[in-house]
Structures are given as C-alpha cells and as structure tokens.
Symmetry: C4
Subunit: 291 residues, 4 copies
Amino acid sequence: MTTSAWLPEGASAVACLTFDVDAETGILSADAAAADHAMAISHQQFGPDVGVPRLLDILADLRVPATFFFPGWVAERRPALVERIAAAGHEIAHHSYSHVPATSMTSDEERRDFARAMDVFADIGVPIHGHRAGLWEASWSTPAIVAEHGLTYDSSLMSRDAPYRVRTPGGPIVELPPHWSLDDWEQYAFLPFPQIGQQITNPSEVLAMWKAEVDAMRRFGSLFMLTNHPFLTGRASRAVAFEQLVGHILDAGDVPVLTCHDLAERLAGVDLPEHDHVRPELEPDLFPTAG
Amino acid sequence: MTTSAWLPEGASAVACLTFDVDAETGILSADAAAADHAMAISHQQFGPDVGVPRLLDILADLRVPATFFFPGWVAERRPALVERIAAAGHEIAHHSYSHVPATSMTSDEERRDFARAMDVFADIGVPIHGHRAGLWEASWSTPAIVAEHGLTYDSSLMSRDAPYRVRTPGGPIVELPPHWSLDDWEQYAFLPFPQIGQQITNPSEVLAMWKAEVDAMRRFGSLFMLTNHPFLTGRASRAVAFEQLVGHILDAGDVPVLTCHDLAERLAGVDLPEHDHVRPELEPDLFPTAG
Amino acid sequence: MTTSAWLPEGASAVACLTFDVDAETGILSADAAAADHAMAISHQQFGPDVGVPRLLDILADLRVPATFFFPGWVAERRPALVERIAAAGHEIAHHSYSHVPATSMTSDEERRDFARAMDVFADIGVPIHGHRAGLWEASWSTPAIVAEHGLTYDSSLMSRDAPYRVRTPGGPIVELPPHWSLDDWEQYAFLPFPQIGQQITNPSEVLAMWKAEVDAMRRFGSLFMLTNHPFLTGRASRAVAFEQLVGHILDAGDVPVLTCHDLAERLAGVDLPEHDHVRPELEPDLFPTAG
Amino acid sequence: MTTSAWLPEGASAVACLTFDVDAETGILSADAAAADHAMAISHQQFGPDVGVPRLLDILADLRVPATFFFPGWVAERRPALVERIAAAGHEIAHHSYSHVPATSMTSDEERRDFARAMDVFADIGVPIHGHRAGLWEASWSTPAIVAEHGLTYDSSLMSRDAPYRVRTPGGPIVELPPHWSLDDWEQYAFLPFPQIGQQITNPSEVLAMWKAEVDAMRRFGSLFMLTNHPFLTGRASRAVAFEQLVGHILDAGDVPVLTCHDLAERLAGVDLPEHDHVRPELEPDLFPTAG
C-alpha cells in the first residue's frame, strides 16, 4: 500500500521536526496595528526569549536535529539566537522576510522579500538550503523563486504526504509537504487581537493525536512533517508533550529524525512523483467571487 | 420504537459509505480567488491524487462497496480516476457540475448546471442513479430536477434519519438523508483561505463518536449515511480510523453496507414516509432579514 | 454551603427536563432567507417529525415528566403534536410566538408577540403556566409581561443556579434559571446557513459533562435545568445519551425530576432570594458602542 | 533546565490563584448595548452574587489565599463584597475602572481611568499593591502608570512564564505573567451577545489540562498564574474542578500558593530578568494594515 522508494533503508516513515520562529512577525504580518498591543507583542516574544532555549535543551537531551525556519526580520534582530541554534547542530531555513503571505504580494514584491531574507542570512553567515512560505501561502511563483536562489527544497505545499518534486522554470525542487493537522498553531494559538486563533487544546490530546499519526504514517510510508512554533510549544506542558512525542518517534525504531536539508540531500537522484505548479484555468463566471 | 419496514431482512440498520470527490471545486465554489492560492489548491488535489487511491485500497481489503459523488467539473478533468473507481465495483454519483450551491442559483441555472454534469458522466460512460447537492444545499427545485433526469434518489435532505420519499411534479424520488454529524468536513476541515473550516479533531475521537452512532442507529432502525471527503479522510491517521469504523460496522453483523444505488433499488415498492417539498409560506415582516 | 430552603424534602437538587420545539422558527428567526434553503428547513423539521416522537418514547420508558416550550408559530401548525405531548402527561409552555428575540423588539411588539402565542395555546386548549424567551433573550419588560398574563414562572435568566423571585410591577414571578452549559445547542448545533452553530460534540462527552454537573449540583443544592432541542437531541446517539443522563439522575435517588410548572407550584410561599429586574444605568461614554 | 533564583526555598514552582470580578463590565466593556440584554446582565451578575461566595467557601476550606482583581466600577457598586473578601484574608487588586481595554484609550484616558479606580479602592479602604489590565490589553504606558501610583506589580504581560522586571520611567515593577492557557474564559465563556466566547469545555478536561500544567511548571520553575472569573468558575461543576485543582497543587508539596502581593514582596531585591517595555519600530509599509 506504500510507495516507499523515497524512504531510507529500513525506515517506514521519516520525521522532520521544524520550528517557525515567527516572533513578532506572527502578528505584525496579520496587522501592523498589533504593534500597539503590548501584551500581544510580549506573547510573541516569549518564543525567542523562553521557548527556543527551552526547546533547544529538550532537543539536546534527545539528541535529535531540527530545522528552524526564520523570517528574515526576526533573524536580523536576533543574530545571536540564530547562531546559537546553528551552533547546536540544527538547520536554519528561510521563512520569508516579513512573514506577510506571498499570495498578497506581486511576483516582484515576493522576489524582493525573498532576496532580502537571503541577505540577512548571508550577513549572519548561516547557509540556507530550503524555504517555507509565511502561513504556507506559497504563490504560483514561489517554487521558481526557490530554485532561482539555488535552494533545494520547499516546505509549503500539500499535494502529497511524502516528498515529491515540483517542476519550475529553473529546474525541479523537492517539496517536503507540511499539513494543517501537524501544526501546533491549530491546537494552541489563542489571541483575540490580532485574532490569530481561538484554540487551547489539552497538550495530552495533541500528543495522543500526533502519536497516532506517526503510527499511521509508518503504514503508508509518509513524511511526518511537524510544524511547531516556540511561542506556542515553548510553553511548559506543551514542551513536555513535544518531548514525549519525539520519544514516541524514537521508540518506533524505524522513523529516522532528519533535518529538512538532510532529507532533501538524500533525495537527490531518487525517483519521486513530479508535479507541475500551475494555476488552474477557470471558465469565466463559473465560480463566484466572494469580493 | 423503530419504523423498520424499509430495512433488509435481518438488518437493524444500513450503512452507506459515500465520498464527495470535490477536489479543487471544494474551495473554488466558495471563492474563485482560491485559484491564486497554490497551497490551498494543492491541499484539495491531495484528494484525488493520494486520498482516493489509498481509500480504494482500504475498501478493497474490506470488500465493501462505496458511492463516490463527483462534481462534473472534477470528473471532466479526471476521467481515468472515475473509470478506475467504477471498475473497482463502486458507484459513481452526481454532485452538481461546479459544486456551487443550488441555493445561490436560479432554477434555470441549476437545471443547466445539473444537465452539464450529466453530459460529463455520459461522455465518460458511467451510469448515474442518484444525486447529492453541493454542500447539501438543495433548492426547492432540486428533487424535481433529479426526477426529470430519471435518477432514483437524492442524498441532501435531513427530515428523517431513514429513507423517505419526496414528492415531485415528476413523481417521487427516494431521499437517503445525510447529516452534519456524519460528515468528516465538520471534524477535519481546516483552511484559512478560503475559510472552509477550523476543526482538526483527533481521528480516534471521531471514530469513537461514529461507532456510537452506528450502535444507536441499530436501535432506531436508521440509515448510517457517512459522508467523507478524500482530501480529508485520505490523510493517514484518518484513513486508518475510517478502516476501523467500517470494521466496527461489519462486526455488528446486522448492518449491511450498500451503495446508495443498491439501497434505492431495494426500496422500490417499499412503503416509506412521503414528504412534500415546498417552501414554507412566511407572513410578511414576521421574521427578520439579515441582509 | 447550600441554600436549600427551596428543595423538596429529601432532595439535594431538582432536575427539570425541558425541550424547546423550535422547528423552522429556530432558523427563520435568525434570517427569513432561511426559507429558501430546503436542506436547512428539513434539518429543523426533523425535530417535530422524528425527534419528538423518539423522545416521547424514551420519557415514557423512564416514566419522567418533561416540559416542552413551543413557539406559538410551531404550535399553530402542529396542534396534534401539542395535544399528543400534553396527553402523555408533559407540560406545554410558552416560547414566544415567532422565536424572534425580545431584545430586538419594542415593548409593544413583545407584548403583541406574547399575546399571539397565548391565543394559539388557548385555541388548542392547553393550559400555560410559564414562559421562556426565544434564545433566552428576555428584555427588561419580559418578567412583567409574564406576570400580566398570570403565568407563574419564567425560565430565561441566569442570576442564580437555583430558583429565585423576580419582582415585577404585576407582582413577583418565579425564575427557573437555565444556563448555556446545560443546553444541547452549544454542543450539537451545526448549520452553515443560517449559521446557528459550529459544534458537533461527541454525545458521550456531553453525557459525561452533564452527569458531573448533576453530581456537583447535588452538593450546592442547585436546579439542574436541562434545555434540549428535538432537532438536535432527537438524533440517534444523542437520544441514547439523553436517556443515560436521565438514568444517572434517577439513580442518584435525591434528585426529583419535575416539570417546570410542578416545581413553580411547590415554590409558592417558599422563601426565595428576590431580585429586581432593572436595566443598569450607564454613565455616558464610559463604555464603547460597537455599532 | 530551570532559572529558579526567584523561587522560595524548597519550591519547584509557585501558584497564584486570581479571580477577575468583572461582573457587568465583562460585557459592557465590549458593547454598551449589552445593557439592553437582561439575560446577559443576569449571566454576569451570577459572578458576584453566587460565584464569589461559593468560591470564598472553597478557599476557606482549603485554607489558601487568593487575589481578587476588581474593576473600580464593580467595587464602587459592591463595597460590602470587597470588604468581605478582604476580611477573609484575600488580596484586592486593581483591574482598571471600566474594564475597557487600555489599548483603545489615549495615554491620558488610561491615566484617568486608572486613578478613578484607585479612588474607589481608597474610599472603601482596601490597600492596593498591583494591577491587571482589562483583557490583559496593557498599553505601552501601562507599566509606567502602575509605577507612578506606587504599586509594585503588574499581571498582564506574557514575555516569560516566571516573574520578571519591567523597566519604566518611574523605576522597575515586577511582572507576574498570566497566559491564555491558564484562563477559564477560553474554556467556559459562551455568550452570543455580546459575543464574548463560544466555548463550553468539560470541567474535567480543564482540570486534567491544568494539573498537567502544574506538573510541567514544576520542572521549569514557572509561575502557575491562574486567572478565573466568578461568573464562569462559580458554576457548580467548575467550582468543584477548581477545588480539585487546588488540591492537586497542595498535594505536590513544593508549590506554595501565594497572593500576587505576597509574591511580589518576596521578590524585592531578588535577581530577575529585566525587560524593556517599548513599542517595536516598524518600517513603513512593511506590514499590512487590516483597517
């Protein structure tokens, strides 16, 4: 029942543990007026200030690598944090400059935003191999821009639950697909203004759901692409649930934990499904415009 | 306590396993602007690309038939998928052309949309016996249109939780009622734009709820009309929960699993409650208009 | 810790099982345009057509009385159902005429709506002793109108979780307070248009929560005022959960199940807390107007 | 893994049990039109009328102190309740005058609102040591205003999950950070108008989640800052769950329960992280304005 050509020898599934370090941009990209809300800003700053160090400790204890996606805006203001994460053996990856969704930009604006973040990472001196769109809101140009910059993978699209290739004018890139059901935002984000979520799920329920997903994905040869946010999962009981989840993955014995970069590297030359990335053509007036 | 005249010999309830293969139309029918959102489109394409094959494997393992409701737009673009499903012994049924709700169309527009889908199915060469309105949003004309096309059943209305007849100018049709509580959309759909849902329920909780519904329906002689979507239930842990649900139904021993068409056929000549299908007359100004 | 003067001899709490038979008015009072939505109308008609008979069977099996609150509009169209319920020994009570909230009416409009429902009940020939506002949205005039019509109780306000008296110009009435946490609407109502809810909770979780509430209320000497709706709780697994909840109440041994009328009668002459019912005076411009 | 310099000798964490006695201001601050809604007003009055006495009984039984944050508007109308709480050994603290969020006021308006509440507390004769912003919506001026009035702590910001200092022009104050995940509002608040919440979580699930948070916080040396509301947690089964939660805290043996004032006093002279409290500077046009 599985199409497991992509799996490492002996593996039934692969896990990537990823953290989007959105900090202030997680709310500023929703509404600049968020800057007037001191509590909301403090809520976001918990991520880099307390969440990241706490999660780094847990990752070190468990001896697993992770991938940290940084908006350029956040990396620019906290270069020491970026360096500390990289020095601990984790991957730093590209999460746009401003966290504003690419779907609300022109193609030129998206290119400028993308390049600006690349400049920030170059200034800090960390190598960048992959990209994730802010809010996963990739445009129809995004994979091409990723390829233009010589990055090897993207992690924003959801056509499959295992790696696939996306064809672009600049050659194919690897897609490492995330999914809403493996994101802590949908479980834990609660903030009335800007309204970024209204959920506070019991971490033990989230843990049970994600353990079951690991088990199901081992059956189908899938990629367990976990997307977490330090301002959310860095909270005490959620950090403990994260630790227990990784323990479950390690206990399985056949689910290697890889950085996105490491996984993308291993997939070079491997036969993967190939997808076009083209906007569907719509017959005029067939579908309504919500306006 | 049951009105079980409609039940097959020895059955306490009947189960229909249905899949609405909405693919892209699941979001385009909410807002044409969804076409600009590459991730959202990929999220929907997972349904036919990965979800349907995975679910077909599970159905084959369990040896149960299912009914797949296709919007004509989706069938037109994926005739091979339609044929593959039909060749596996499952029913293909009518789910409008565009998935735009009939309640937002004039009667003429609804008739044209309905006929256009019939043409698609005729071109592919699959027989069509029944219909389900997009979003279940049947109009006061819908049953009449179903009857005009010679189809024998509809599956959009909720007056009962067992089959009943709806009178139309073109003669009665059988209604096989669905319900919100037996739809995976309300459990699993999460997409911010177009905003089609904000729920990510643990599949094991959904499984527990639906198993209890099967058990309760055996007491009342009801129709367990399950409505699932491959872009949702095709995800790994949800597919496993679906498999376990069907296992529970089969273990009961007195809940036959039938296609909608097969069930409607068996009900020909059987005494069923008959309902009119007429818009309620409202006294002017008694109820407010939300505008 | 309890103020239990109101409790019947030997009782630790009292339970009232109430059903609001809103039928079509449950959605028409939100938006008259609901009449165009055939599925939504069918969804509401399930209440009187299937839900009420099913629940009457369960109540008869358990030998407990209930109170059925009818909007006059619904009673007018289904007098036989009203008579059947009354003939089974249950109470029929007043739930406005149109189910449109009193807070969106002038005082005169509310009086006319109230009187119109009284006329319907008089025509059918059922005695009326109490009232519940549509959506519990009592106005500052509502208790006075209840007293003017000679009714003895209202069940819309939430100042306490045990019976109390509300002073009105026409003399005090008894308030039998409901609460959002003991209403099935918040647990089970899901309908996108009119959007009356987005919840589909597992009935077994609702059952667990309400059993715990019964137990806690026995400690505090409270009134367990259950508000259910046949279009919701009449569904198979929910009806079974309702039956189990009543079983739990009966098993307690010290929680008598009374109709609202019976309870209000017993409270005549009993010392209860008395509350004024007066709109708070607001300093101009202190609080914002959402507009 | 902990930074536990702030913890009392032998303690792994500290718990503050706080109640925001919002009463009518909980809805009036959302919309003055709430005053027209008699049921909504009664829903809020349950807090001081029934909830507070019930919770005081539970606190007395458990022999633990709590902090009650009062909007000045509420204290002004219920001085006897304020005195009764203080006489029972609990702390009274400042929760703005009107409960209108400071982020919707000018700095001058916020100062006037703050001072007006101080006057109310002075008139009643209760000492005030700390402040919590309405809805936690502190402005960039709030800590300075707190310091200007000689108060020693604030409890509105979320940069850490242990006490820290916030620098202000008038000297540093102690921040005792709350969090959305430890507030009963997100679990229990349900009211359609004004729409202040749509959640009715099973109290036993809330209890399980908060017990796990206590346990996790003992590992990280955190402050368990519980924010509850008498109009919510004063309901029967929720009050019982609160009692069980405190029992869990006491059973731990290393989590002292302190008032906010007592904790802030103990932190005088203790080395704590220091944070600036400055609005982030935003590049023009980088982030969108939702308007």
